[in-house]
């Protein structure tokens, strides 16, 4: 019987999700220490096209379940597929990114297999007696709890997207691909009626993909309007630092930073007129791309940024707006 670590390689809109690549990296790291196989689950109507990417990011074996009926996420169908493979192998761990579908699946798998479950784990390590030690945040992150799981147990681990980062890709890696039977699927108990697109004005800061943050560099509340056309073009939510909230220029729900009790890790965090207090940086440092617009080259946030535009935001923001409009016009003409 093969000894495996499983990873659900989630894909969305014809792209493999970055959070799945993070999970593959974590699984690979542990599998190398434990001497077992990383097996990735690719499920969907067109899942086989991601096999190479999944292998290059750390999978040894890829289970591909392809069927038209797997186009949309259905917990009953996914549970059936995972359960069908559970009989064939000894599974140490199941890594699933805590996306909306991922967290639902991870919890239900833990309930189905009657096994351990850890959410938002900070570290996971195997002990000499083959038991697994995992650290998880408790009491709103004010403490960490160290848990020990027996070696005989399977452990389901979910991590927030963006929490560990992606390990480098190795395109020379070789792996095995197993096309699995996905013809006889159970009926789904839920019926999807449609989708509602997020409104950047009302969506929660925790859920948004891109964030545009305003700071003390703005002289008046009306000046924040300079940022809004850019945020609208990107589809970003406008938030701000604590001084902005203290002045009443942004609502508390739009506050970024540790002081709000909320940490964000969006795809883009555009920080305008923010030098970067410790509280602010702690709240957004996990963002994948950080762009800073600030006139102070020595500001702490500039050191953290992937791109820093040094200059007066009152000159740079209108220029960006013009550039975006001109690029949009060029695209429409084409």
């Amino acid at each position: 019987m093969a000894h495996e670590i499983w990873v659900w390689a989630e894909h969305l809109n014809n792209e493999l999700r970055e959070s799945s690549l993070e999970m593959l990296g974590e699984a690979r790291k542990l599998a190398d220490k434990m001497g077992c196989t990383v097996s990735a689950f690719l499920i969907g109507d067109n899942a086989s096209k991601f096999t190479d990417s999944v292998i290059s990011y750390g999978a040894d074996l890829v289970y591909v379940f392809e069927n038209e009926g797997l186009k949309d996420f259905s917990i009953e169908k996914y549970l059936y597929l995972f359960s069908s493979k559970k009989k064939e192998s000894k599974v140490y761990m199941i890594f699933i990114a805590a996306t909306p579908d991922g967290s639902a699946l991870a919890l239900r798998l833990a309930a189905r297999f009657q096994c351990g479950y850890v959410a938002n784990t900070v570290t996971t390590a195997m002990q000499p007696d083959l038991s697994i030690k995992s650290t998880v945040p408790v009491y709103l992150g004010k403490g960490h709890c160290v848990l020990r799981f027996e070696a005989s147990e399977t452990l389901v681990i979910s991590m927030k997207p963006g929490s560990v980062g992606i390990t480098g890709e190795n395109k020379t890696r070789k792996g095995e691909i197993e096309i699995c039977d996905a013809t006889s699927l159970p009926e789904s108990k839920t019926i999807i009626k449609g989708y509602i697109k997020a409104d950047p004005n009302t969506v929660s800061m925790d859920e948004t993909e891109d964030v545009a943050a305003a700071g003390s560099g703005f002289r008046t509340q009306a000046d924040i309007e300079l940022l809004k056309p850019i945020a609208d073009s990107i589809g970003a939510v406008v938030g701000g630092s604590k001084p902005m909230m203290d002045k009443g220029w942004i609502p508390r729900s739009r506050l970024i930073g540790q002081s709000s009790g909320r940490r964000i890790s969006p795809r883009l965090c555009l920080c305008t007129g923010i030098s970067g207090s410790n509280q602010f940086i702690e709240g957004m440092k996990d963002s994948r791309n950080i762009i800073v617009i600030n006139k102070d080259k020595g500001a702490p946030l500039v050191k953290l940024a992937d791109m820093a535009l040094i200059g007066d935001l009152y000159e740079i923001l209108p220029e960006i707006e013009r550039e975006l409009k001109s690029r949009q016009a060029t695209t429409y003409q084409k």
Binding site: S134, Y139, G165, T190, V203, R267, L268, E319
Partner: protein, 294 residues
């Protein structure tokens, strides 16, 4: 329609609590008991969405008598009935999530629920296991992270809005019975008036013990999957960050990385001077990172 909302009495983790060194048990004597915010939001969402003539809402908890004040808060917030599951033979410290799910399952079968509603996560520990575990035990449909509900015009089905990717919502309906979980921010619990509180204090709370549930010992006793070794102050998580260049790290950078909990980002792209050039670079960066599709 019989609707059951599972609630839990939790320690208010927003209160004073600070860990300085590793301990076996956290000192929680300064923390007060409160209703789990996600459970309270779940009750509020259901109450606001389901008309009184369409469904009876029962709140249920697995707790000793001290948790009755939580049930009274729920009754004042709009619940019609309250049930407390407890038995002399149960000990709070021995109850794990699987045992609680088994006891709730028995009680829900007894009460014949069409819709079971739970908070999506706890205040102290964020596992959120109960909802999916109940869906598994009841063989029911499971919809997680619902933030809006509406009853169809013929009052035969309910449409749920579930949190989907990047703030989008999935509109979904399901067969009965169903288990849904609700986030703490889905609905704001109402400010309860004195009149409602007094009214709620007079509603009898149903008590179910193991005998009335018809629950044998082997049906609710489950070994915990994990042993708690210790609690310790929070440490930063090590994060992998793409290196700007292939140059190996200097010993100073390695030390900084270890102390900081991960590789420190170094801004490799500082643009100064001409605003037009800065704007162009900015848009090019967004296109390269596939944030903009021009």
């Amino acid at each position: 329609m019989q609707i059951i909302v599972c609630v839990k009495s939790e320690l208010d983790a927003t209160g004073p609590i600070k860990l300085i060194e590793p301990v076996d048990k956290i000192n929680t004597k300064d923390l007060v008991q409160t209703i789990n915010p996600a459970d309270h939001a779940a009750l509020t969402l259901v109450r606001n969405s389901i008309p009184h003539d369409m469904g009876m809402i029962t709140v249920i908890t697995v707790s000793p008598a001290s948790a009755e004040k939580i049930l009274r808060i729920c009754l004042a917030s709009g619940a019609d009935n309250a049930v407390r599951v407890w038995d002399e033979s149960l000990k709070e410290e021995n109850l794990n999530a699987k045992s609680v799910a088994s006891l709730l399952h028995k009680a829900i079968q007894l009460l014949k629920a069409d819709l079971v509603v739970c908070g999506s996560e706890g205040l102290c520990e964020t596992s959120g296991y109960i909802g999916p575990a109940l869906a598994e035990l009841l063989d029911a449909a499971q919809i997680c992270r619902v933030d809006h509900m509406e009853v169809s015009d013929d009052k035969q089905s309910i449409l749920f809005h579930r949190k989907h990717n990047y703030g989008n919502r999935e509109v979904i309906t399901c067969l009965k019975p169903a288990v849904i979980t609700v986030d703490y921010d889905a609905a704001k619990p109402p400010a309860v008036s004195m009149k409602e509180s007094i009214k709620a204090s007079k509603v009898p709370i149903m008590h179910l013990d193991l005998e009335s549930l018809g629950c044998k010992e082997d049906e609710w006793t489950h070994n915990a999957n994990a042993n708690v070794l210790q609690y310790m102050p929070p440490r930063p998580r090590t994060k992998k960050i793409k290196q700007a260049s292939d140059k190996p790290l200097t010993p100073q950078q390695k030390m900084q990385q270890m102390l900081g909990g991960g590789a420190a980002k170094q801004s490799s792209n500082i643009i100064e001077g001409d605003s037009k050039k800065a704007a162009k670079e900015f848009v090019d960066f967004l296109i390269a990172e596939r944030i903009l599709n021009f």
